[in-house]
Structures are given as structure tokens and as C-alpha cells.
């Protein structure tokens, strides 16, 4: 067995340790109301056990990272799978740093599921080692990517604490207009998380079933000399096609629920070769996510926010607010260094321009401007609590778009990682 295979085992171990640690955090909070125990003592004891397991998970994750690096001979941050697993590891590192500053292990109840989702999402992408193309052969691959991801990981912890704050303070019995609006948006956040989970579930379920469909798309291009060339491309689907690519013919479609043809065709403005497939994936994510969300609603018979809210009673909201802010304040200089300054140095070495308004660069700048607005709002205008937490949540949505959305939707120069 070579090191790369061993690293995959370590990765699976890390994943399960994270899952166990998450359940232990849930026990440490939910179990406070169980009979024959002192709630404070119970929480202290179980959150310690949970922290031990999450640290063990982090250790296994670090083993994965190091053995894959040695085994493949290149730092595992060069495609989407490797980057997202690294981001998950960085979030756990950031969580550990924050834990040692504040000794509030319960933050793990939100940081761990975030890591679990990101790590599971990473597994959707091809996991093999891809040798580096010349553009990536640079010491800056190591420096730029790791620093940027670590900065973003602190933003992720800020997001986790911010969302936790919102769930802690928003009163789900409040019938006023502003109260309802706050409840709606918190519920919308939770629903969006379920859509991401739905995407992962859909991909793995159909991958397990070995589902496949294939289309051929013909595209006519007219070049500068006026000569028309027809480009034929095949598109592979791994999810049953609800939408087929624009202007395409069916090669074969596996039957699912006795349906063996696509229901719609993608609109003409979605004429990119993979646009139809991406739209199909989005539709499946929403369907699966909504199903999951609906099931949970049926199970609890109330909004998910109202389910979580009472469990968080007894946690000091001011501490959550402070942790959220502090994580962002720690992450901000790291992000500036990694995602802007080191990025500019590398761009200068590789492309001869430190800044080219490439979509990825622009979105890194947008993220940076957003968090600098956050810090000014907080430090100079006294925005705290609710408003600050909302900003922390929105900020992380921007971070995710910069990391994943730009590659999925806009691409540009930074499209090394085939999505």
C-alpha cells in the first residue's frame, strides 16, 4: 500500500471522528436536561470528550494532508478536492485556536458540521492525484493557497459563531414584523445549508447506483475568416437529467423512476457546453435539499430554528458575538496576506501583472472589502450583536462564492480545478 492510499484511509478516519465529535457535542448540549445529573457538570464533561474526538479527527486530517503530500510529491492544494479538504482542515485549526483563546467548546457544535459538509462536498470532486501543470509549479502555490484558506477558515468560524448567535437570540415566539423577518432569514440560512447537503446526498446516491446519461451537443462556430466549423461535444450526466443541454441530442439516458428522457431543455442563453449539466445539478440540489428540509419539518413540526433555539439557552450570547468578531479579526490579516498580497506576488511572477481584474481576483477583493466594511461597522460605528452576526453570515456566503461559485459559474484564469 502506498502513501496516497494510506492518506485516503486517514481521511475517512478523520471524517468519522468529526461525525462522532459532532454527535457528542449535541449530547453535551441536549443532555443537560436529562434526569439525575448536574447540567453544568454534564456539559463540562461531555464537551471535553467531544473536543477530544474533534482533535483526534483533526490529527487524522493532518496525517492525511502530510502523507498525501509526501506520497504525491506535491502539496495537496492544487485541485478542488484537495483545496476543499484543506479548507476543512484549516477550519478545524481555526476552531482549535479560538478554543484555546476562549475555552468555549460548544462552538464545535456549529464548527464541526460546517467542516463535515465541506469535507463531504470535497469528496464529490475527483480524488486522484493530478500532476501539476507548469503554471502551478511554484513555491507560491504552497504559500498563497494555505494562507488564503486559513484566513477563510477563520471567517468560517466567525460565520459559525454568528449563526449560533442568531439562533440563540432570535425569539421564535416573536410575532412582530421584524421578528418574523429575522426568523425567516435564519430559517432561510438553514434551508440553504440543507440544499448544499442535498447536493452531496444526490451526488452520492446516484454515484452509488452507477447512474449515467450522455448527450451530444452541436455548436456552430464562425471564425474570423468566415468559415463555419461544427463542434461536437459530449456531455456526461451523473444525475438523472431533468434538463438536457441546449440544442443537444440524447445518446443514452439511464432509467430512473421509469422516466428515461429529460423533461426540459436548457434555455438558449445557457449555451455553454456544461451549462445544462450545471443547471440540472442545481435543480437536483434544490429538490433533494427541500425533501430533506421537509422531512425534518415533519419530524419536529416546527421551524428548524425553533428546534435549535431552546438547545442553545444558557450560552452567553455576548460571548458568541465576541468570538464571531474575534475570529474574523484574526482571519482578516491572514486573508489579506494570503489572498491578496501573496496572490499579487505570484501573479507578478507567473503572468507579469500583479493584478488583472480576473474574476477570482475581483472576488477576493470583494471579500476583503466586505470584511473591512464589517470591521469598520463594528469598531467605528458600534455595530454589534444581531447586525454584526448577520454580516458575518453574509460574509461567509461571499467567501464561498469566491472559492466555489467563481469556478462553477464564471471561471476565468483561475480554473485549474476542473469542477
Amino acid at each position: 500500500m502506498n502513501l496516497v492510499d494510506f492518506s485516503s484511509d486517514a481521511f475517512i478516519a478523520a471524517f468519522f471522528l468529526y461525525c462522532i465529535a459532532f454527535m457528542l457535542y449535541v449530547i453535551s448540549i441536549a443532555g443537560r436536561k436529562w434526569s439525575n445529573r448536574d447540567p453544568v457538570e454534564h456539559e463540562r464533561k461531555w464537551s471535553r470528550i467531544a473536543f477530544f474526538f474533534s482533535s483526534a479527527g483533526l490529527a487524522a486530517h493532518i496525517v492525511f494532508f502530510i502523507t498525501r503530500w509526501i506520497g504525491s510529491g506535491q502539496i495537496p492544494t492544487s485541485n478542488m478536492y484537495e483545496f476543499l479538504t484543506f479548507l476543512g482542515m484549516a477550519i478545524m485549526l481555526a476552531y482549535t485556536v479560538i478554543f484555546f483563546l476562549y475555552r468555549k467548546p460548544l462552538l464545535g457544535m456549529f464548527a464541526l458540521p460546517l467542516t463535515i459538509i465541506i469535507v463531504a462536498y470535497a469528496s464529490v470532486f475527483p480524488q486522484e492525484v493530478q500532476p501539476l501543470i507548469p503554471a502551478l509549479k511554484s513555491i507560491w502555490l504552497k504559500i498563497h493557497v494555505t494562507f488564503a484558506a486559513l484566513g477563510e477558515a477563520f471567517f468560517a468560524v466567525g460565520f459559525a459563531a454568528g449563526l449560533m448567535y442568531l439562533l440563540r437570540v432570535i425569539d421564535f415566539k416573536d410575532k412582530s414584523k421584524s421578528g418574523r423577518r429575522a426568523q425567516f432569514w435564519v430559517e432561510f440560512c438553514l434551508y440553504s445549508i440543507m440544499v448544499v447537503v442535498g447536493f452531496i446526498v444526490a451526488v452520492f446516491v446516484f454515484r452509488g447506483m452507477g447512474y449515467e446519461a450522455q448527450f451530444t451537443q452541436e455548436k456552430v462556430n464562425i471564425d474570423a475568416k468566415g468559415i463555419a466549423t461544427t463542434l461536437t461535444e459530449t456531455v456526461h450526466y451523473t444525475l438523472p437529467p431533468i434538463v438536457q443541454p441546449y440544442n443537444s441530442t440524447v445518446d443514452h439516458v439511464g432509467a430512473f423512476l421509469n422516466v428515461n428522457e429529460p423533461l426540459f431543455e436548457a434555455p438558449s442563453w445557457m449555451n455553454g457546453v456544461n451549462a445544462g449539466r450545471k443547471l440540472n445539478t442545481v435543480l437536483w440540489s434544490i429538490i433533494t435539499g427541500s425533501l430533506l428540509y421537509g422531512l425534518l419539518r415533519l419530524l419536529f413540526r416546527k421551524p428548524l430554528g425553533a428546534v435549535i433555539h431552546p438547545a442553545l439557552e444558557g450560552i452567553d450570547p455576548d460571548d458568541l458575538d465576541e468570538i464571531s468578531y474575534r475570529a474574523i479579526a484574526i482571519g482578516f490579516p491572514i486573508f489579506t496576506l494570503g489572498a491578496l498580497i501573496f496572490a499579487m506576488i505570484w501573479a507578478e511572477i507567473a503572468w507579469g501583472r500583479f493584478w488583472g481584474w480576473d474574476p477570482k481576483e475581483v472576488w477576493a477583493l470583494i471579500t476583503w472589502l466586505f470584511y473591512s466594511a464589517y470591521l469598520h461597522f463594528r469598531l467605528s460605528r458600534g455595530w454589534q450583536g444581531l447586525r454584526s452576526s448577520w454580516l458575518a453570515v453574509i460574509g461567509f456566503v461571499i467567501v464561498l462564492f469566491t472559492l466555489v461559485g467563481v469556478n462553477l459559474i464564471i471561471a476565468g484564469l483561475h480554473s485549474y480545478s476542473g469542477v
Partner: protein
């Protein structure tokens, strides 16, 4: 008529107009503030700023506008929102050769693309309003910083130790209690604990009032950060000064030496190579697909020393440096940088060395040198003379059947010679020659040349008589004089950022009046840590208090 505000504090200190808290004892000066009991706003220690003048002039109004943090935040928000718009469709500058961008937007994206182009969003980041926003942010950075840093510096450099009770009790972190025994001894004991945490201790002459302070330098972090950002923005603006920046491309076939336009330099590519990964190195899904491993141009940079602009003489070149240019390894010489940008692996014919065969006698003359570009006009070969009549790079027949050339690259070269010699007409006979075999067949050389084709033949014997470039490399030539300023700006900004975020300026004031301890503490951020420090130090002096109990409410940024 404005009545001059009474800004003299009861402690006798004369404050500037706009002062919120007395610069000396810290007592709130405004009457409505004195009556309330909410925690005090400690920003800039309550000193007056320049923007708080009564009776502002035009300049003051502009200053006031840009000195507002609220305006600064709005500018930041507008900037990132408009930056988002620029990423919806590709920007014009991302196309290398596109002389008709409006067509691209309409054809590729339909009506939205047309609107996008019409609104100028295809050049968002070069637009006057976007650059205007950046300039306004820069202005705001300068004015916001100047407006605050000087008063703050004055306030922090002359601090009063004994503060007013209102000041102490209305801090965000407060402790009030009883102290037994000698006040001075207790203060010494408490101060010793704080000293161990890195505080500097100041006590007044009575020994019963104290100021403990640490990490004041972190207050300058934001301003240092802003100075770095200003330098950075100025460096970007400086790039539009003529001659500060250059960005051109050169195409260099193997073995050629090409002038770099706008400079005195020439670059030669001795050889361009590209390696691909072999299948053993690739995972299953990538096998069989070309995945480049390395690009390299063996480049030599020359400087012209003589006859540089004389079109009649060839320039005299002197080698200055050589470097194997890779993707992350540009050639650098005195601020000039050459980057690997692209390549083309189509071979290019440079010259052939053909022979002339007299078919009637079987005699062979030559070989002679026939470069594709700038060939000699007359070639003498034994009894024959070849006069160059016409030369085509990419031969084709136009719609009227006349010969023409499609490009200036030797993709399908053709030569028309006037041949003179024994047995031929004295004024010469035309002979068409295609050096490439495929063109000979395609344009049927023999039937064009008719009878002459039976008399003579021009042919190339063997590959050793063919001179071609295997590959062509495309290099990006750059020069950017603002670069060093940019990096300096970035470094200064980073230093300021780290100073300002990883340290906090903490101050603890206390006074003991007849056994009653009043303690107030302020941190510019992270009150959690401040409370923990105070609680730990109090505990060592025998006062047990939960850190959270020290919280006096208010915004604990």
C-alpha cells in the same frame, strides 16, 4: 451669532470646542451626557476632531464629508457592489485579439450582453466612475486618518492619572468595592500583578490613584495600515504616467532574433521546448490527454549598440543576459521582464537550399540559398540565371483567379522566377516554384509551368537542405516602475494591520477614596480578555469576582 461654548471643565482644564470628555479628568462636558448613566463613548478618548468645527467653510465641508467613517463605509460598499457587476461577463481586456468586442457581447450573450456593453460594464475597472471611487476611498483614507490620529496622539501623550468618578463608573468595564487597610499598599500589590501582565503603571503622588496601560502602539496600527494603502493606491495611479509601464507581446520562432518594440532590446529564442506527462505519470481519467509538464524558451537578450534605427544597416547587437524562461521563471534585466505567454508547435519553413536540374543534359547546379523572406533578387547557377519576379508567403488565388497572399507567414510560400539560360527565350521564361511538396500538388506546379517544366526543375535534395523552426514561442514583455512602491505599500499596510488587530490597547484607571475602590477600564477592542485580566489580578489581591460581572454593558467592540 453663535455663543462660544463653555468648554472649561470643573477641574480647571480648558478644552477645545467639540470635546466630549474633559481631556484632563475625563468628566463628560455636555450636560445631557452628565445626566445619563450609560457607558461613555470612549472613541478617540472623547477629544475634539478637526471636522467638529463650528462655522465650517467650503474646505471644511469637503473635509467633514471625507472624514466621516460612515461615508468611508458607504464608499467601500459601493465599490465592492460595482466590482461584482464587472464579473458577470468577461471584461474586454481579457481578450487578446478582439477588435470588435461589441459583436462578442451581442453574439455570445444576446440582449443582456448588448446592454452590458452599452452600459460600459465591459470596461468596469477602467471606467471613470470606478477609478473615481478608488480615488475617493484614497481621499477618505487620508482625511479620516489625519482627522483622528493627531487629536488621539495628543490625548494619549498627556494622560491624567486621577480621573473623575463619572468617568470611572461609566466605563464599559467597572469594578466598585471596599479595600481594607492601607490604600497605597493595596494599589502596589494590585499594580505588581498588572505589571506581570505587561502593563506600565503610573500612580499619582498620593499613591491612591493609578493608571495601568499596555500596548498603546496598537492604536497606531490602523493609521499605519492606511498609510500603506494610500501608498499602494498612489502606486497604482502612477502606473498611468507615460513610460512607467509597458505591456507588449513578441512572437519568436526558434532561432530568430526579434526586436522588442519601444525598447533598445532584441530577444532571441534558441529553442522552445514543451514536455508532456506520459501516461504512467497520469491518473486514469487523464491518460491519453496531453497534459503539459513544462514549457521553456531558451532566450537570449541583446542590446543594440550601433545602427539601431538605420533601416539600411542591420543593427549591431550585444548579448546582455540569457535565461531559460519558464512559466514561473521570467527573464529579468534592469526592470524589463519577459514572461512565457503561449506557444505554437506548427513548424515554420525558414529557408530551403534547392538545386536547379537541367533536364535535357542532366546537369545539376547549386544548391543555392533561398530564404522565405528577403531572398536575393538574382541567383546565378551555371549557365542559368534566376531573377525573382514575385514572392508569396501564403499563396492563394482570389475570386478573379489572380494570385494573392493570405498572410505574411510562410504557410504556403511560392516564388515566381524569370529564368534565363541556354535554349530559353532571351527575355527569360516564367517559372513558378513551391518549396513545399503539398503546395506543389495542390496548385499543380508542373501544369502552371507547362513546357518549361520539361526543360528544368528546381528541387530540394534531402532534409539537410531544409531549414525550419520547430516551434514558435510567444513572450509577454513587461515593465512596471511602480512595482517597488506597490510592495512597500503592501508591507506597511500589513504591518499596520497586524499591529492593530493582534494587540489591544488596554487601560485601567482606579482611585481609592476612604477605602472605596473605583476601577474603570477601557480597551479599544476585545473586552473579554480585559475583564479576564482584571479579574485574575483582583483575585490575587483577595477580591473574587467573575469576569462577566465586571461588564457594565454598552457596546463591547
Amino acid at each position: 451669532m453663535l455663543v462660544p461654548e463653555n468648554t472649561k471643565c470643573e477641574c480647571g482644564h480648558q478644552n477645545a470646542v467639540g470635546t466630549v470628555l474633559c481631556e484632563s479628568c475625563g468628566k463628560p462636558l455636555l450636560e445631557e451626557l452628565q445626566k445619563a448613566d450609560t457607558p461613555l463613548e470612549m472613541r478617540y478618548d472623547g477629544v475634539a476632531r478637526r471636522s467638529q468645527k463650528t462655522n465650517p467653510s467650503i474646505i471644511d465641508r469637503v473635509w467633514n464629508f471625507f472624514s466621516s467613517v460612515k461615508i468611508a463605509i458607504y464608499l467601500i460598499i459601493i465599490t465592492f457592489l460595482t466590482a461584482m457587476l464587472g464579473t458577470i461577463y468577461p471584461q474586454e481586456n481579457s481578450f487578446i485579439n478582439n477588435s470588435e468586442p461589441w459583436l462578442y457581447y451581442e453574439q455570445t450573450h444576446g440582449l443582456p450582453g448588448k446592454i452590458y456593453y452599452a452600459l460600459g460594464l465591459s470596461r468596469t475597472y477602467e471606467s471613470w466612475w470606478f477609478i473615481g471611487l478608488l480615488v475617493m476611498i484614497g481621499t477618505s483614507l487620508v482625511i479620516c486618518s489625519l482627522d483622528r490620529v493627531l487629536p488621539l496622539y495628543r490625548a494619549l501623550s498627556k494622560q491624567q492619572i486621577r480621573k473623575h468618578h463619572q468617568f470611572l463608573h461609566r466605563q464599559k468595564t467597572v469594578y466598585r468595592g471596599e479595600v481594607e487597610g492601607n490604600a497605597g499598599e493595596w494599589v502596589d500589590q494590585f499594580a505588581a500583578q498588572l505589571k506581570r501582565k505587561g502593563y506600565t503603571i503610573h500612580t499619582d503622588e498620593s499613591g491612591a490613584a493609578m493608571l495601568a496601560e499596555k500596548n498603546r502602539f496598537s492604536r497606531w496600527g490602523p493609521y499605519i495600515n492606511h498609510i500603506g494603502l494610500i501608498l499602494f493606491l498612489l502606486a497604482i495611479l502612477a502606473r498611468s504616467i507615460p513610460g512607467w509601464q509597458m505591456d507588449t507581446y513578441v512572437t519568436v520562432p526558434d532561432g530568430d532574433t526579434v526586436e522588442i518594440q519601444g525598447t533598445n532590446y532584441y530577444v532571441k529564442s534558441e529553442k522552445f521546448t514543451v514536455d508532456f506527462y506520459n501516461d504512467e505519470e497520469l491518473p486514469d481519467s487523464l491518460k491519453g490527454k496531453p497534459r503539459p509538464k513544462n514549457f521553456e524558451t531558451k532566450a537570449v537578450l541583446y542590446q543594440c549598440v550601433q545602427d539601431c534605427s538605420d533601416p539600411l544597416k542591420s543593427p549591431q547587437l550585444e548579448e546582455v543576459t540569457r535565461h531559460d524562461i519558464g512559466v514561473n521563471s521570467p527573464l529579468q534585466y534592469k526592470g524589463l521582464k519577459l514572461f512565457q505567454f503561449d506557444f505554437n508547435l506548427t513548424p515554420r519553413l525558414n529557408a530551403v537550399h534547392p538545386v536547379l536540374v537541367d533536364k535535357t543534359t542532366g546537369d545539376v547546379y547549386g544548391p543555392f540559398d533561398l530564404p522565405m523572406k528577403d531572398s536575393a533578387l538574382v541567383h546565378k547557377l551555371g549557365p542559368f540565371t534566376l531573377e525573382l519576379y514575385a514572392n508569396y508567403m501564403e499563396f492563394a488565388l482570389d475570386s478573379e483567379g489572380k494570385p494573392t497572399t493570405l498572410s505574411r507567414e510562410p504557410n504556403a510560400p511560392a516564388f515566381v522566377f524569370t529564368v534565363k539560360g541556354p535554349g530559353l527565350k532571351p527575355e527569360g521564361e516564367p517559372y513558378m516554384y513551391f518549396p513545399m511538396q503539398k503546395d506543389k500538388v495542390r496548385f499543380s506546379q508542373d501544369s502552371i509551368n507547362r513546357a518549361l517544366a520539361d526543360r528544368i526543375e528546381i528541387r530540394v535534395d534531402g532534409m539537410e537542405n531544409v531549414d525550419f523552426s520547430e516551434a514558435t514561442t510567444f513572450l509577454n514583455v513587461r515593465m512596471d516602475k511602480a512595482l517597488s512602491f506597490l510592495w512597500v505599500g503592501g508591507i506597511i499596510s500589513m504591518i499596520g494591520l497586524v499591529m492593530g488587530t493582534y494587540w489591544q490597547h488596554r487601560r485601567i484607571w482606579l482611585r481609592i477614596d476612604e477605602g472605596k475602590l473605583s476601577l474603570g477600564a477601557h480597551s479599544n477592542k476585545n473586552f473579554f480578555g480585559l475583564r479576564a485580566e482584571i479579574a485574575a489580578a483582583l483575585k490575587k489581591t483577595g477580591i473574587e469576582v467573575e469576569p462577566k460581572r465586571l461588564d457594565n454593558g454598552g457596546n463591547n467592540a
